[in-house]
Symmetry: C2
Subunit: 144 residues, 2 copies
Amino acid sequence: MFSKACEYGIRASIFIALNSFEGRRVSPKEIAEEIDSPTAFTAKILQALVRNNIVSSVKGAYGGFEMDKHRIKEIKLADIVDAIDGDSIYKGCGLGLHACDEDRPCPMHDKFKVVRDELKTMLESTNLEDLALDIKQGDTFLRR
Amino acid sequence: MFSKACEYGIRASIFIALNSFEGRRVSPKEIAEEIDSPTAFTAKILQALVRNNIVSSVKGAYGGFEMDKHRIKEIKLADIVDAIDGDSIYKGCGLGLHACDEDRPCPMHDKFKVVRDELKTMLESTNLEDLALDIKQGDTFLRR
DNA sequence: TTTATTTCGGACAATTTTATCCTATTTTAT
DNA sequence: ATAAAATAGGATAAAATTGTCCGAAATAAA
Ligand code: FES
Ligand code: FES
């Protein structure tokens, strides 16, 4: 469904959000340990998240990755997926035709569109704050 | 969403179904042209479909790929996806945890599960006959 | 100002997916 | 029997994704 990079990106974002509530910056090493991902690869993904304005970074001693506490609620899963995997999951044809086209649809179009749109709605309506709070309460987990 | 192999596999299956209604066998070359896919790669995927009992093949002169006319209605998209991409799309964790686990869910679990289950239902309830008939009527297309 | 720390970014490597090619095997028609 | 036609399958190659490494640049503390 999502690329590994995107999965790591989402898990990392949630962990950063969680810590930003406490005013703590976190390092790629700490993030990778907490979400069980390869450190250097995760660092690359963090760079992309910074470029896309989803997290911010502070270089140098006592630096690390953080998020504006008041923006956490505004950041949706869709923002992260879009930043890393692009919009093909929202717009692409399920059978791989060059683009999804209502006027010349593939045989799966009508049925696929319903699912694809529901995925889109789900990602656009799910924010990082809610996800982070569930973890804080011990209801959900970032690794296993 | 699906791998290229799976997209080609579904498009190929629909085209074979379409021709099997007319009692025509089709070659990898003809299939690849009709669904706009690389011929040799498509041939590999056809082998997998044969092994998984989705289409049958006849070697030698006047051979080719075909489907039992009366089974076309019984073959669901899910059968093809399962044969080529496996069941991770149905069962896997959306955030890439080693498995989806209700008892230790990832933060996306509750919302992801709804979409994933809907995709599963869609694939399990869509059969090749309906897809092939839409093409025959000129309502949908296998290439563009 | 120096030093320690930390992200940034480019180069590189490994793995997986996608794609090609060639030979063997099977089958039908002559 | 022989030849022609067609799928099966292994070896190989190209491309994309995933993953690693290291030096450069930036920052804060001493
Ligand atoms: S054309 Fe294939 S999903 Fe819309
Ligand atoms: S645990 Fe992640 S989707 Fe179920």
